[in-house]
Structures are given as structure tokens and as C-alpha cells.
């Protein structure tokens, strides 16, 4: 398959992940959708690496993975702290900027 197909797939997965962030209310699920978007980016990077014929894309994808891992760690820790405080994991609770 040409890299173009992989990139289209990456776009589709990215869009699905984006819609998932907007639609779900549970904080963990939203986080997981963000992970999906990151994975789609990784796929795009690898496809581009194959297109260009060098490994730079793969190295970047590797770094993305590392950073995503760090991000998940901190994010979930925050989530746990918030859950302990207010006993709810819904992101709609933070609506104090309402008119």
C-alpha cells in the first residue's frame, strides 16, 4: 500500500479521536481518545518516514510515544487527585465560567 493510504487512515483515526474528546463526559475516556489521536499521529509519522526513505519519522514517533507516556502518567495522577476531592470523574463539573 502506498503511504497515502496509511495517511488517510491516520486522518480518519485522528478525526474519530477528536470527536470522541468532544462527545464523552468521563475524564478517563476523554484521555483515551487523546491517546488515540496520538497514535494516529504516530502512524502518519511512520508512513512519512517510509515515504522519504529515512528513519527520522520513526525516531519522532518514538519520542511521541515517550512523551505520551509521561503525559498519561501525570494526567491520570491529576485525575485521581480530582476524583478524591469531588468524588466524580465528569469533566462537566468544571463549569464555573458559565454565564
Amino acid at each position: 500500500m502506498s503511504p497515502a493510504h496509511y495517511i488517510f487512515l491516520s486522518v480518519v483515526l485522528f478525526a474519530i479521536g477528536g470527536v470522541g474528546v468532544l462527545v464523552r463526559r468521563n475524564a478517563i475516556v476523554i484521555f483515551m481518545c487523546v491517546e488515540l489521536m496520538l497514535n494516529a499521529c504516530n502512524l502518519a509519522f511512520v508512513a512519512f518516514a517510509r515515504m522519504h526513505g529515512n528513519l527520522d519519522g520513526q525516531v519522532v514517533a518514538f519520542f511521541v510515544m515517550v512523551v505520551a507516556a509521561a503525559e498519561v502518567v501525570v494526567g491520570l495522577a491529576i485525575l485521581m487527585a480530582i476524583y478524591r476531592a469531588r468524588k466524580s470523574a465528569s469533566v462537566d463539573d468544571a463549569n464555573l465560567l458559565k454565564y
Binding site: V23, V91, D92, L96, L97, K98, Y99
Partner: protein, 652 residues
């Protein structure tokens, strides 16, 4: 007309004429209550000082062959293309007025010492009187129209202040306002005339304006001159209470009696006549304007006389008489060079006898606890003998019995109208003659009701007067008594003038020759008797007789009878007020109400609508801020979509 010579010698100090009363007014107004003790004496002294200088100036002027001097005082607006100066012009016309104003004015000042002796605000009264004298002198002495206008406005102000002198009386305050507003209408006409004059001739001074006008060196031609003349007539009507601006004069009787005597009999109301006679070159060129002046004069003559017949208030009856006599002056002034002299002569004579009549009425009021209703008088000749004699001399003068003043001057006007000839001349003469008859009627009525007959003031009945400051009716019947000498001496002096002034001026054409440099060559003189004069005299006798029949032979009823519809109309000032109200006042009120409505609903509605729209839309718009992070994320996504779309549109 050649340029006037500059003043020299004594006449260089002519500004003193104005300075004395201005100084008096300033000191008395600014000094306040501190000057209460001697304020009245200062006022009289200033007025007398002006009179003394006036006499000196008069004799100095007589000694010249060319009896005209101009004194430039200062430059008021020295702008290129608009030079306005204040200067004094001394010539026969202005010096005659100066003598009249300061002479009669000083006598009335002296009279006021006695009349206002019980009033707390006497000092303020004298301040305003001095202010009036100053403004009137500026009016007659000014050498250009702009200074005349300044004096014109000044006398209007003084009149307002003096009519409304007893401010606590609502009727007085309203009357003062009415006088000022009616005058303002006339002032608009005068200012338009001055503006037209400046636009046409580029100057305000009398000499250059008349010179350019008569030499026909302008583009406007007689049309402009007629317009100026008619506008000047409008201004004169306002100040002199002629039809159609006559409504304020009868209400002006709310002021103290010396005010009525000085302002609304002798001087201010004659300013209109002065204006017309001073502007005689304008009227000589424009026959239309002259005709308008005569028509106004004739109509007012008759209207004033009819109103005077029905009034029970002695001051209002005299006011109607004043209106009528000034109508005579206007009639004379509109007849051209033949009539100017008689108009001014009648003006001077009228100044004497009308002031005398008013001061006499004031003396009667002083003795009768300020009662003005003639139906409460009766048989007073026993109690106020000096007043009776002076009043009677004034009465004989005004109705035109020879050899008293009125005969000479009024007959002069009637003869001038008769000599004009043509339809207009005979109609005007007829009006004047009939007017003389009616004058005789109402003046005789006044005499009978006041001085003769049964005393009606001892019975209880409707009482018009009340305590001035509290408004409470008097507790007891009045005790009529003669006035003190400070009030009777001026009346006596004025009575002498009433007797002698007319003959002095008219016989041997003395006044005509004196005024010739200003008004032009006079007409050839008549004999003492002439056809219209005899007819007038006959009608006068008839009028006296009718009045005796109604008021002399039969006792005067204490309450006014209903009367015919003419009487009812005359009591209502010939519906002058009703006309003004329905034609001017109510539409004015509707107009203001309409504009208030538009302002409130239209303009305010627009502004409020803008505010409401913004408020409402912002209230709706703030609902976009839901506070949910997800909706913000949605807007981020949509923004990203727009961005990508934009990029694609640009690069594809």
C-alpha cells in the same frame, strides 16, 4: 445731507446726559440696603442734573446757525467691514426729547418720593427709574441705529422691571412678562430693519444711511426702502402699543402709578413715534410704508378710544386713552413732512397732560387706599381740590378745547390729514374727528365718575383694592385726603404745561421752524379755525353732552351694568387677548407639545432602542459561554476546520 459737525465747547460734555442717570442707577443697585436712606434723593438729583445739562445744551444749540452737532464717544465694535460706534447726535429733534424726558422725568421722580414713601423697596424703584432715564436718553441721543437699538432694549428692560416691581403680586409678574414678550416681537422687526439697512448701505449712522438712500445709490431701490420702513413700523408698534401689538399696555397698569405716568404715557411709548420721525427720509421715499403707518395710527386711535369708554379701572381707562393718542401721533407721522411737526408737538403736549392725568389718578388712589375702581369713587372734588384742578386742566387739554394744548396739536393732525386729500385723506380725517368725539366722551365719563356725583365709597360694595403685600381687603372705608406737597407740586407744574405747551409750540409755527432741519420744510400754516377743526369741536361738545347725560345727570351705579355687546367687547380689550391666545399662543403650545412628543418618543426612543438592542443582544450572546470545557473544545475543532479550509482555498 452734509455730515454733521463735531461737538465743541459745552456740548463736548454731552455724555454727562447719559452718565448721570447711569451713575445713579449703578450706585443704588450696587449699594443695596445701605443706600435706602438717601437713595431717592440721589435718584432725583441725577435726573435733575441731566435736565439742567439738557437746558444748557438746548440754549447752546439755539445759539448756532447749524443746529446739529455730533459727539463721538467711543468705538464699540472696530471690526473691518462692521464699524459700530456709540455717539451722541444733538439736533432739534433729539434735544426736544431730551428736555421732555428729563423734565417730565424729574417731576415724576419728585412725585415718587411721596407716592412710594410707604414702600420698603423705594430705593430700588428709584434705581430702576434712573435706569430707564438713561436708556431712553441713549435711545433719543444716539447717532446711529445700533445705539438706538441698544437704548430700545434698555427701555424694554426697565419697563419689565418696573411693571413687575411688586414681584409678589402674580398679576404684576405676568403683566411684566407679557409686556416684554410683546415688545420682543416688535424688536425683531426693528433688528431686521437694521440688518437690512446694514446689508444695503454698509453703515448704521443716520447721516450716511439717509444720504445713500435718497441719492438712490443702491441696488435695492424702493422695494428695500419699503421693507425697511415696514419693519421699522413693526418695531414702533411693539414699543408704542399700537395694533397689532397693543395687548400689553393695559396690563402694564399693574405697575406703580409713577411708572404708568413716566413710561407708559410720556416717554417709552412715544419711542415709536421718535423712530418714525427720525427715519423720515425712509418714509418720504416709500409711500406704501407711509400709508401703513397712517392706517395703523387710525385703527389704533379708534380702538383705544372704544376700549377706554368701557373700563371702570381709572388707570386702564387712561391707558386706553394713551393708546388712542399715540394713534394720533402715528397718524400724523405717516402724513409726511406736513404731519411730522404736529406729531412731535402732540407728543410733547401729550407728555404733559397725560403725565398730569396719571399723577392725578395716582393722587386719588393715594387718598382712597389704592382703590382703582371708579365705581367706588364719586364726589371727590371736595376732598382733593388741588388734584381736581390739575386733573381738570389735563382733561380740557386732552379733549381739545381751545386754547388748551390739545386743541392746537390735535387740530394740526386733523388738518394735515384733511389736506392730504383723496379717499385716504378724507377717511383718515374722518377717523381722527370721530376719535376726538369719543375721546371727549370717555374723558368726561371719567371726570363725572371720579369727581362729581354722590360719594359711592362710603357704602359697602365690591372692592377692587386690597393691601398690596398681604392681599387682605381693607378693614374700613377710605378717608380721601389731599396728597402732600411733594406730590402736588409736580402735578401743578405739569398742569401749567398742559395749558400752555400746545399753543407755545404751534402758534407762529415756532416748533415747525425749529424742527425744519430734521423734518423738512413745513406746510404753509392754517388759520386758527378750519373746516375739519370746527367739525371736530362740534363732535367734542356732543361727546361731552352724551357723557353728561349718562353719567352726570343720573347717579352712577355701584356695580357695572351689563351693557351692549360693544361694551362687553370693549371690556375685553376688543378681544385682543382672545385673538392673541387663539392665533398665536395655542398653536405655539401645540407646536411645543409636538416637538416634546417627537423628542421623547422619536429621539429618546431611538437612543433607548439602541441601548435596548445592545442590552438584549448581549443578554442572548452571553449564553454562548456555557462554562463547559467540551463546548470550548468544540469551538477549537471548528476553528481548526475553518483554518484548514482557508489554507486549502488559498493553496489549491
Amino acid at each position: 445731507m452734509e455730515t454733521t459737525l463735531a461737538a465743541t465747547g459745552v456740548l463736548r460734555y454731552s455724555w454727562l446726559l447719559l452718565a448721570f442717570p447711569v451713575f445713579g442707577a449703578a450706585v443704588l443697585l450696587l449699594g443695596g440696603r445701605r443706600t435706602d436712606k438717601w437713595g431717592h434723593l440721589l435718584g432725583v438729583a441725577m435726573s435733575l442734573a441731566s435736565f439742567v445739562y439738557g437746558v444748557i445744551a438746548f440754549f447752546t444749540l439755539l445759539s448756532y446757525t447749524d443746529r446739529s452737532r455730533d459727539l463721538h464717544m467711543f468705538s464699540w465694535i472696530p471690526v473691518d467691514g462692521f464699524q459700530a460706534n456709540i455717539g451722541i447726535l444733538l439736533d432739534p429733534l433729539s434735544i426736544s426729547f431730551v428736555l421732555l424726558i428729563t423734565g417730565v422725568g424729574s417731576l415724576i421722580h419728585i412725585y415718587s418720593i411721596g407716592y412710594m414713601s410707604h414702600d420698603v423697596d423705594r430705593r430700588r424703584f428709584f434705581a430702576y427709574l434712573n435706569l430707564f432715564i438713561a436708556a431712553m436718553l441713549l435711545l433719543v441721543l444716539s447717532d446711529n441705529y445700533l445705539g438706538l437699538y441698544a437704548g430700545w432694549e434698555g427701555v424694554g428692560l426697565a419697563s419689565y422691571l418696573l411693571i413687575g416691581f411688586w414681584q409678589f403680586k402674580p398679576t404684576a409678574a405676568v403683566a411684566a412678562k407679557k409686556a416684554f414678550i410683546a415688545n420682543r416681537v416688535g424688536d425683531a422687526g426693528l433688528s431686521l430693519a437694521i440688518m437690512l439697512m446694514f446689508a444695503e448701505y454698509g453703515t448704521f449712522n443716520f447721516g450716511p444711511v439717509f444720504h445713500q438712500m435718497s441719492s438712490g445709490s443702491t441696488s435695492g431701490g424702493t422695494g428695500v426702502t419699503t421693507a425697511i420702513g415696514l419693519l421699522l413700523l413693526l418695531g414702533a408698534c411693539g414699543k408704542s402699543a399700537q395694533v397689532p401689538l397693543q395687548s400689553w399696555l393695559l396690563d402694564a397698569m399693574e405697575g406703580p402709578t409713577p411708572v404708568s405716568a413716566l413710561i407708559h404715557a410720556a416717554t417709552m411709548v412715544t419711542a415709536g413715534v421718535y423712530l418714525i420721525v427720525r427715519s423720515n427720509p425712509i418714509f418720504n421715499i416709500s409711500p406704501t410704508a407711509q400709508l401703513a403707518v397712517t392706517v395703523v395710527g387710525a385703527v389704533t386711535l379708534l380702538a383705544g378710544a372704544i376700549i377706554g369708554c368701557a373700563k371702570d379701572d381709572i388707570k386702564k381707562s387712561l391707558a386706553g386713552s394713551t393708546m388712542s393718542q399715540i394713534g394720533y401721533m402715528f397718524l400724523g407721522a405717516g402724513l409726511g413732512p406736513a404731519g411730522y411737526v404736529f406729531a412731535i408737538a402732540h407728543l410733547i403736549a401729550h407728555g404733559f397732560f397725560k403725565a398730569g392725568l396719571f399723577l392725578g389718578a395716582g393722587s386719588v388712589m393715594h387718598g382712597m387706599d389704592d382703590e382703582v375702581n371708579m365705581r367706588r369713587y364719586g364726589g371727590l372734588y371736595k376732598f382733593l381740590p388741588v388734584t381736581f384742578v390739575t386733573f381738570a386742566l389735563g382733561y380740557l387739554a386732552i379733549i381739545g378745547i381751545p386754547p388748551f394744548s390739545g386743541f392746537w396739536t390735535k387740530d394740526g393732525i386733523i388738518e394735515a390729514a384733511w389736506d392730504k386729500g383723496g379717499t385716504s385723506g378724507y377717511i383718515l380725517a374722518a377717523c381722527a374727528i370721530i376719535g376726538a368725539g369719543i375721546t371727549a366722551f370717555y374723558m368726561t365719563r371719567m371726570m363725572f365718575m371720579t369727581w362729581f356725583g354722590r360719594p359711592r365709597w362710603q357704602e359697602p360694595g365690591p372692592q377692587a383694592s386690597a393691601e398690596p403685600r398681604t392681599g387682605q381687603p381693607h378693614e374700613h372705608a377710605p378717608h380721601p385726603h389731599e396728597s402732600p406737597w411733594v406730590m402736588t407740586i409736580p402735578m401743578i407744574l405739569l398742569a401749567i404745561g398742559s395749558v400752555a405747551a400746545g399753543g407755545f409750540l404751534i402758534i407762529n409755527q415756532r416748533f415747525a421752524n425749529f424742527l425744519a432741519p430734521v423734518t423738512g420744510e413745513p406746510a404753509p400754516p392754517h388759520g386758527v379755525w378750519s373746516t375739519p377743526g370746527i367739525i371736530a369741536l362740534v363732535l367734542v361738545v356732543v361727546g361731552v353732552g352724551i357723557a353728561w347725560l349718562i353719567y352726570g345727570r343720573v347717579p352712577v351705579p355701584a356695580t357695572a351694568p351689563r351693557g351692549s355687546f360693544v361694551t362687553v367687547a370693549a371690556r375685553k380689550d376688543l378681544y385682543g387677548d382672545a385673538f392673541n391666545e387663539s392665533v398665536l399662543m395655542r398653536p405655539g403650545q401645540w407646536l411645543t407639545r409636538l416637538s416634546v412628543y417627537f423628542d421623547g418618543r422619536g429621539v429618546d426612543g431611538l437612543v433607548n432602542t439602541v441601548a435596548a438592542v445592545i442590552g438584549g443582544s448581549s443578554g442572548r450572546l452571553r449564553r454562548v459561554q456555557t462554562g463547559y470545557a467540551r463546548s470550548y473544545a468544540l469551538s477549537m475543532l471548528l476553528g481548526a476546520v475553518l483554518l484548514v479550509a482557508g489554507l486549502l482555498v488559498v493553496r489549491l
